[in-house]
Amino acid sequence: MKHPIQILIADKSGEHIFASVTNHLLVLRASDGKLIGSWVDPVDAQEFQEKRFKARMEEQKKKEEANEDENAAKKLKNNKKEPKVPAPGPGAPTIYNYIRSLTLSRDESYLIGTTDSDKAAVIFKIDYSQDNCLSLVKRQVFPKRPCSVLTTLDDEKVVVADKFGDVYEIQGKDSAVVAEKDLVPILGHVSMLSEVIVAEHDGKQFVLTGDRDEHIKVSHYPKSYVVRNWLFGHHEFVSCLQICPFNEDILVSGGGDDYLLVWNWWEKKELAKVELRELVAPFLTDSHLPPERFFREDSPREICISKVRVYEQGDQKLLVVLCENTKCILTFSFNEDMSLTHKQTLSTTDSIIDFVIVSDAVLAAVDVESEDNLLQLFRFDDSCSLHHEDSDLTKVISKSVECEVSGRADFYPLYYISSLRKRSEH
């Protein structure tokens, strides 16, 4: 059985699909599903920790040797045993060697991922004339786990947001790696960040950051020390931000609330609120209940929005919405005033992990225990309704996935957005 696909993205033309399965990256041609590029992350989290620890000890030893005389007395006292390489305790959360996020540069010549194993951003040059179109440019390690990346308008810089609330910028195209201690955040939240976006208005750039509190912050860029404003409207964590390609002042945000918000982020105005509870309710299961520790009789099943994307066909503009661990895709159509009207609830046979819009279709990675088909394809018809389509593409792509597992128990966590929800105790 194969491990499900965890992340799917595609280029604007819809010719190439990029997918991640555990620590594997795949690049596929959309026309026939042929594998044209791949990469496997060689770094193991535990090994990395040990290496880092040993390097640190070495350094310390060197330092000590350098001023041996001064410390001689001290050393006698302290130097009883060699420090052990720290191993994670029994209660420690497992660190998975997977790719947490995947993005293309604006000119689509670079692919940027973030890894959990060594808390790094990995940047690849894409060259379709090569046998393997991916070549690693650099691997930049950060002090805390990065979770979202995007390039600046000119693709020169990569803006990286981490789980400690800090945002960094690094050079996007050269292979120079900055030492961890020389990295200085360009802005930050006192809360875990979930998404970062670089947006444009009138040729000026802005960084939009969403966090685990309910904040969306808009900062100027590159003068990121000037906060422009906050967008207040969420009561729970923010997990996805999406700028509308047809009007870059329009932002859609969602997270742990029962609703999506549509903003004109430039004018600092909330334009619409889209309630999802009624639409999603039939698809919520007991897995959407709070963890046992926090469960009460009246606890509702919780909605977490995991992805929103915009689809355009003619003058029809659609918002495609996925709630975490549900067997449905919702679509809404944009009205003139940017309010949204529910268009379709497409119910699927399996829970959807991630989806991507490729030309006139939605390609979805599904949560299945399957040997040969990890994807489903839904095509938009002329009236913008989605219909399931049996396609060889999904099978061809699935064939390229090489991550064999013995069962569901070996799956990496497929749904982790719900864990962002705050459950305060004191």
Binding site: G165, L187, G188, V190, S191, Y225, V226, S424
Partner: protein, 318 residues
């Protein structure tokens, strides 16, 4: 005072050690420890009872206007600090159960400053202009009430009991100075200023922000928990008006250097001169009125002050 300091730290540390003693370890030691633990529980119960009593008074008086009938005289005596003591440290990253407005316009300031609420228009006649971040037991905040009688000052404190103390203190002072209508212009609330400052204040609303004797967070890996960091300064700059002042004071030289360095490096702040500090009345207040300041004085420690002005926002940033 944000969260103070080494003496308190040592004390709380000792308490922790006492609680963690393994009861099966040593019999003779055992009864001793048990007695100690029992004693501590008893005193905690006593403190709790006192706070509960005060809470009742608070409920009656908190939202009361100035005309409400005087309650029992002993109920509005100044609260006694020893019943409210709390561990000096609080983790700013944890998900505390906090009350904060969804955005500044949702804040019901009339609950904190009923005297400045115009019932006919339903609006506040004044807005908060001075914030004491980590006001601790409120020494400075109380002084600000009379030093700036025409301005509203707000204390923010993350520790529940300490906030209750300041609340009770303000209630008592308002009651005692009813005729002069004093202390109506100060209030305190429990909050995490590092996370939620922008939920309370509009852009450029504040003219002064105080950071008095903040938690030093000595360990390097804890530096992000410090109240002054380059990334947080951008948020403080947002709520401060141009020309507004950030005041910092600490008795920890390392922390002072760290705060001054980060403020100096921030493009939106400029250090005020020593001469300016000498002539500024807030610096004097900050040196002498805070509980921490007085403690440092008693212990003959040093106090380090640094004040910074909020510079104009660059022109190309609307």
């Amino acid at each position: 005072m944000l969260i103070a300091h080494r003496t308190a730290y040592l004390l709380s540390h000792r308490l922790c050690q006492i609680y963690r003693i393994n009861p099966t370890s040593n019999m003779s030691l055992d009864s001793d420890k048990e007695a100690q633990i029992r004693h501590q529980r008893e005193s905690e119960l006593k403190r709790k009872a006192y706070r509960d009593m005060k809470e009742e008074t608070r409920k009656v008086l908190k939202h009361a206007r100035i005309e409400t009938p005087t309650p029992e005289p002993d109920a509005v005596g100044l609260p006694r600090k020893r019943f409210y003591r709390q561990r000096a440290h609080s983790n700013p990253f944890s998900d505390h159960r906090l009350d904060y407005p969804q955005e500044p316009s949702c804040m019901e300031w009339q609950k904190l400053y009923p005297h400045y609420f115009d019932e006919t228009t339903g609006t506040m006649s004044k807005n908060v202009e001075i914030a004491d971040i980590g006001c601790g037991y409120g020494g400075l905040l109380i002084q600000l009430a009379t030093a700036f009688p025409e301005k509203l000052s707000l204390g923010m404190e993350i520790r529940v009991q300490v906030t209750q103390y300041v609340e009770d203190r303000i209630i008592a002072l308002r009651e005692q100075n009813k005729d002069a209508e004093q202390y109506q212009n100060v209030a305190v609330l429990r909050g995490n200023a590092m996370k939620f400052t922008p939920n309370f204040f509009f852009k450029g609303q504040l003219s002064k922000m105080f950071f008095c004797f903040p938690d030093p967070h000595f360990k390097q890996r804890k530096h992000k928990a410090r109240i002054i960091t380059s990334t947080l300064l951008s948020e403080y700059a947002y709520v401060l008006r141009e020309g507004g002042i950030i005041y910092t004071i600490t008795d920890v030289e390392d922390l002072h250097k760290w705060m001054a360095k980060h403020l100096e490096e921030h493009p939106l702040f400029e250090r005020k001169s020593v001469e300016w500090e000498k002539n500024d009345k807030c610096v004097q207040l900050m040196m002498n009125s805070t509980e921490e300041g007085q403690k440092v004085e008693r212990n003959k420690g040093s106090k380090y002050v640094a004040c910074f002005e909020r510079l104009p926002t660059p022109e190309d940033c609307d």
